[in-house]
Every structure is written in C-alpha cells, then in structure tokens.
Symmetry: C2
C-alpha cells in the first residue's frame, strides 16, 4: 500500500511580508523503505521559525554565510527542526518507535539522509514538544546567547525584545534565575501580562503603545541597560543602545522587524557605541553545540523543578504550517510556535 | 615681570562642521608660581584630535559617558594631551627642565592641577614629539584596539579606514608586523601613495574615487575582511560589514564622518551581523592604561629599529591650533596632527 506524504512548499520566492498564498500543499508518495544510513521519521512537532523567511528570499546575504541558512527554492521540500518518531531505520543505533529530534521538514514524514544528526529523545518525564522548543534550537539560542554572548552578572539590568517569543521568553527566565533585573517588550497587552505574571519578568511593556521607544526605555531603565538581547533590530536596537550603560552588551540574535523589510535598518549611534564601549555581537546557536549537554541538563532540571516554564503555541496539522509561519510576522504567536503534524500514539504510517 | 599665556577657546558651541571663526585667541596672565601639587608646564607639542569636536557640541551623548569627554564651554580653556617642559614644580617628583606628557591644553602654558597625571619622558633617543603622537594616546588607541579588540591572527585580512591618520597609520603598521594582509583607505592620491610606499600597506585606495564602497571593498578583499578597524563610521562601516568574513571583528574606534553630521549614521545590515557572527565593539584607550608599559616598550623598540615610523603633520604656534583642528575634518592632515606651541630649548618663560 502506497503511503502519501503531504508537504508544504514555496510557490515563489518571498521578499517582504509572507502570506498564506505564497505556499502550497502538495503530496508525494513516501519511499517504502530507508536506504542504508537513512531513517524514515513520522513528524510530530515542527519548530516554526522566523529565520526561515530569509531562506525564502530571492537574495539574502544569509544564503551564502552558512549552510543552515541556504536558499529555499520554489517547489522544494523545506527542512525544519522538529521532533518525530522513527518508523523505519537504516541506522544501527535507531529503531522503530524511537523519538528523535533534528532537522526534519515541513511535511508529514521525513526521509532523513545519511549523515544528518538525529538526537534520541528520552520522552519519559518531559513533554516531547519541549524537544522542539525549550530544549531545541530556540532554547540553545537563548542559553548560549544569554550566558556566553551577554556574560551576565548578578544585579545587571537586562532588556529583552520580542520577549514573549520562542527565544525571548527563555532569555527572560534565564536572566531572572541569574539574579538580573529583567524588562521585556512585546506587542500586545495579553503578552505583556503574561511576561509579568507567568514568566516572572520584573516589568514589561507593549512597544506598540510607545510613541518614543528611547523615552520608554529611559522610563523602564532609569539606571540604564547593561544587557540587551535583541530579537527585532531596527528602531528598538537604536533606542536600546541610546539607553545602555558603559560596557553594555548587545546580543544580536534576530532582527524580525528587518526580515520583512530590507530597507528598515538599525542605525545605532556610534557615539554611544564608542564612548560607552558597547559591544554588539551577532551569534548563532550552531556555534554552541559544545554547550548542548550543559544547556540541556540545566534547562531540563529547571523545567522539572518548576523554575522555568515552556511557553508553547501549537497549531495542528500540516495544513496549518503556512498560517503558523505567516503569523510569526504578525505577532500572532505567544511563545514558541509549533505545529503538531502527527501523533505519537496510533498508526505509524 | 608678568608672563602672558596665550590660549585658544571656543566662541560658541559647534554643531556640524567646525570653522576657524568658531575659535578665538585670548591671553591671560600666567600665575607666577605653582601651588602645592601643581606644576607649571611650558607646552611643546599638542595632540590635535577629532574627538574634541564632540566635546564642543551643545549636546552629545559622549558628554556624560566619560569625564575625558566632558563638554567644553565657550570661553573655557580646552584641555588636550601634549608634551611639555616643567618650568616650575610643586611636586617632589618633578623638577624644572623635566619633559612631561599628559593632559595639557590649547595654550602656551598649562598649570597642571594636583592629581593630574604627568608622565616623565625620557627624551634622549626618540624625538619628543613622539610622546604626543605614536607613543601617546593615539598610539595606545591603535595598539589596544588592534591587539585587544581585534585579536588578530597571522594571515588575516585587515581593513583600516582613515588609514593615513594618527591611529590608522599605526594600526596598519602593527597589522603588518603581525603578519596580516592590510588594505587602507584615505582621501587623496598622496595619502594612498604614502600608505603603500612608506607605511608598508599591501594595498590602499582613495575612497573619494569609489562610487560604490561595497564593490570597492569586494575588489580589494576578494577573500573577505576578517578585521575592520573603523575610524570613520557611516557608509564605510556598512560596506565593510557587507564584506566581512564569518567571525569578523570591527573595532569601532572613531566615526569622524558622523561627528560633523549627527544625521549621518551607519546602518550595517544585521543579517550580516547575525549570520556571519560579527562583533562590533566600541572602545577607548583609557580602558587600556594597564597595557601602557607593554605598548610603550614594544612600540619604542619598533621605532628605534625602523620597523615602524611615526607620521607627523606639525603646525607651528598656538595661533595655528584652530586651523590644525578644523583641518582634521577636511582631511588636511597627513598622519598625526600636532601643533608645536613652544621650543624645548631657549627661554622657559
């Protein structure tokens, strides 16, 4: 019996804001058995990430910088991080029924090629969705970016943008666990409330209600900002730099407000950068794989003991991937955006 | 007999390009004898530096960031680094005739207040002007910025802007001594020739002849830039970031093209910063006083053995200070701009 694999692909390159009509759902027969070194995975949770938009552009400097950001062509399958269940394995170390995390795709089943890393997940005491969110690349990004790039000291003042997002929501929690004072910004009252009430941020504000971001930050940080964890770029980065203390550090993690508009660029005042000796540093989680074990152990422990929570926003079904993705740029998601494309239990094929 | 001290002061705050008419020459009687802890210094060489313009502005974020960049008010004396000769000393460790370097002023004589550091200069085997240029703050800026901020490795590709200036000309020489490939840019054919023929740069170009800085840098760095030592900011910083290699470092030392125009700001592409994991770091020499001894010993040795040269552009007389200063923003100076306001030999008062 032939199994059909539904997948989402691009109709054409996307420059500017993406919309649902840029994508199409297609089907292809699933290959019946894995080749040597291949693994056939039934996808369970897919991580839906803003950076994928850069891969969909006709041109982006990111395409050549690293393989993980290579260009996506129309019609192609789209690889994406996720958690799945092995349904057939051509690798000795994996067997049917194993839950694995790694680079899967916007599809129901992924034939994972030889050489592609799949991490076996111990799905006993934490929800398996965590391995696509708080314990996946978003988590490592937050952990490495905050601890290694920002090098926080107890008592320092930390500002996080897109603070209710996949990475920001974790940075804020790590910062609180490190004894920092943390303020986050987000784009709705609901998100702001959540930052303060559920995630333990010391304060939070809705940036859409602030006419002057520079003054807003002066109000929230009367003693200045020591660390800015930047997920948005543009005007917020300028305002943060203007409010930074001497020897302040900016982790340049993402620039979502620039992804949809290449003409919108942050121009932080270099006078501030020089005289306040500010460091701005771009980074990627993939440079911190050596921290993965430490990150994973510490974070799992925080989660088990209720010192951290995983904020997830889950849509259901492969058909919902385009809306889930497009929604990232409208600020629809609250926390990590995931799509559940399959069930752990039940028929494997 | 009363000794008259000529000094240069501001007529009014300067926002935008400075001109000679913003300054005035005035005189004041020199105090006859130093108080306890004071030293009266006959100024010999004054260091003329672009950053002073930021101090002359009505408003600049630099004013509050550090004391050394405090605001200059109209009519005030203007402190400035220089080398001079002690004519009267209220300090036990200094005596008449000693040559000293430290914070003096745009004046013929400076009464150095108690607590202000004066470094005794051994003026035997190197010209004393060197202590206001290559062995002064410009030198320490180049040394600390290149070695500590840029962390060069042998064979790396280094780009220096304002490369014939006080700091750039030294960064290029340090880079060559470290086995790097170095290209500089400057604003005239004469300067470009000098970089290549006299300072040992591997290549150099006149930025005024390049319609597209991004393409120009692609031509000069077909394998990309590893280190950018930025003295100018604005469009050149954007072009350099666009041409940087992964893990590239930018030492943000100065932004002379932004000093005269607060509206002109660099907006480097954050996509490059993130995906290429670029670090941009502002710094000031005063944070590196702990490196002074190492810097001074190494650099003196390079100079004595002809491995480095000090490029100096000297005007004569306190009256020439305004033109010397204004000329920095027209690119008049070739190398370190100094004004010789007094002679080592001859009458001390």
């Amino acid at each position: 019996m032939e199994v059909v694999n539904k997948y989402v692909s691009l109709k054409h390159h996307v420059d500017g804001h993406p919309s649902e009509s840029d994508f199409e759902l297609a089907t292809t027969p699933l290959q019946p058995a894995p080749g040597s070194g291949e693994v056939i995975v039934k996808n369970l949770f897919l991580s839906i990430d803003p950076y994928q938009l850069n891969r969909m552009k006709r041109y982006s400097s990111s395409h050549t910088a690293i393989t993980a950001a290579s260009k996506i062509e129309p019609g192609q399958r789209i690889d994406a991080y996720g958690v799945g269940k092995v349904v057939a394995s051509g690798r000795a170390e994996l067997e049917e029924g194993d839950v694995v995390a790694g680079l899967l795709g916007w599809e129901q089943y992924t034939v994972v090629r030889p050489g592609t890393v799949l991490m076996k997940v111990d799905a006993k005491d934490l929800p398996i969705s965590y391995y696509a969110s708080v314990l996946g690349p978003s988590g490592l990004t937050a952990f490495a970016g905050f601890y290694d790039v920002c090098k926080p000291k107890k008592g320092e003042k930390v500002f996080v943008s897109a603070a209710s997002g996949s990475v920001g929501s974790l940075v804020g929690q790590y910062a609180k666990l490190s004894g920092c004072y943390v303020v986050g910004c987000a784009g709705s009252k609901q998100k702001v409330d959540l930052l303060k009430r559920k995630l333990g941020f010391d304060d939070a504000f809705n940036y859409k209600e602030e006419a002057d971001l520079k003054s807003a930050l002066r109000r929230y940080f009367p003693e200045g900002i020591d660390i800015y964890f930047d997920n948005v770029g543009a005007a917020m980065l300028e305002a943060a730099v203007a409010n930074m203390n001497s020897f302040g550090r900016v982790a340049v993690c993402g620039a979502i407000s620039e992804y949809t508009n290449a003409g919108k660029r942050a121009a932080p005042d270099l006078m501030d950068v020089i005289y306040k000796r500010i460091t701005l540093r771009g980074f990627l989680a993939l440079d911190y794989l050596h921290l993965h074990e430490q990150f994973s152990a510490a974070t799992s422990d925080h989660l088990r003991h209720g010192r951290m929570i995983s904020l997830e926003d889950v849509s259901v079904g492969i058909e919902s991937v385009p809306t889930a993705f497009v929604g990232l740029f409208r600020g629809d998601n609250v926390g990590k955006k995931l799509v559940r494309v399959g069930e752990l239990e039940g028929a494997e094929l």
